[in-house]
Amino acid sequence: LTASPEQFYAEARERFEAAGARAGVVEKRFRVAERLLRLRFAGHALEDQLTAAIEHLATLDGGAPDLTVCLFDRATTGAGLRAGWDASAFGPRGEITGFNTERYRTAFQQGADVFLMLDRQRSEAVYWVADAARVPYWERSFPLRTAFHWWFEDLPLQPVHAAAVGFAEGGVLITGPSGCGKSTTALACLSSGLLYAGDDYVLVANAPSPHVYCLYCNAKLEPDNLARFPGVRAHVDNPDRLDREKALIFLRSWLPGKLCAGFPLRAIVTPRVTGRRDTSLIHAGALEAVRALAPTTLLHLLGGERKAFAKIAGLVCQLPCYILEVGTDLAQIPVRITELLR
């Protein structure tokens, strides 16, 4: 290894400042679960890619940020970053051996090819990619997911792989791995009075009482599913890439009034697609909800798994859990969820 975590972080920060000096620094602020996030972009390339999904959280609050992330890419700023490790330093999930200490969290997110390093002491992180133009659509749909996970490690907050719909006074968390029907369930509810807080990753609080915050203002649908939601096709953000990507839809474009900041959680529901016409809710044990929520979340999010697991457990144990047997008549889904909440 060529450097200690301290040295590497300092060098990455210097590279960011150099990139910013060349391309200009763009600063954006966001309010996340009553905390202030400051993003400093070197140039506009990553800003364009990463802020659309969190635009609803934007704030003009000029106070001291709780977390600052410095983001840059090599292609548009010329600022490269030398890793200096050999292949064996990368763990199976992208964690970088020797660079995850009490103070630092460090990973290379394979697939999105994002290098992310958090200095917990300074509450500051560096986010680097080789080329902003190659940021995949899924990273655009849940930007900074791992940064949020690390940021909230010691707080009763946890990003989880789940959807959420509800009313201002209370709603449901919809859990399950990819393909289980989370998005279909959540989007089917938009034809009713229910509000939307996310269909893929949301932020949950397990204390002082269960609550969900909307992190991302978009939805993702399998292209084959678009026909089930009248009018949505005109609002797909990536219509020319549906042969290889899920359809990405921003709620501000499609149904701006449906997006909400979050709500208290009243129940957890796990969809199960049945193929039958009707939709019904049946009681389930906590274990069912945990199986639907914990593995998929913990396998996505790197580091701090024990704390995250305990937070998920703390949440699940406070809420009634249900299986939502999802039928083909989508109109029944919001009816069943509304009955549950009323």
Binding site: W85, A87, F90, P177, A286, A294, P295, L299, A313
Partner: protein, 147 residues
Amino acid sequence: LPSSKFTATARFSVASPNIVWQAFDEESVAINLESGVYYSFNPAGALIWRLVEGGASPAEAAALVLESGAPPEALDQILGFCEKLLEESLLAPAANGTAPQTAPVETPLPWAPPTVSIYTDMQDLFLLDPIHDVDEAGWPSRPAGAA
């Protein structure tokens, strides 16, 4: 322990730091973060897991459970369950055996044999190819043509 490969004092610990677990009500879920496989234990399984992970040998765990009201056949069931945990690489022989738990346990009754359910549905979704090569700047490189 004629029907088992365990000695009376053979102790075990969780096989890898990549295995995390959590109790819910009386049951438990364990996740192997490296393989993507996850497991759920029924109440008896969760109890045995907790005892053995806490330092009891499988035989000592069985003795505690038998003392608390489980039927005699529980002995073989518990030892078989522990063998399954070894086969699944959830447990591994402990380098240094720790002190066993001696406090009485509360066995869920009526007795049902300990079981572990194994779930592999996450494996295909999450496991990426291990990183074999890095480029000249030290970052993982993709094979030509890879997305």
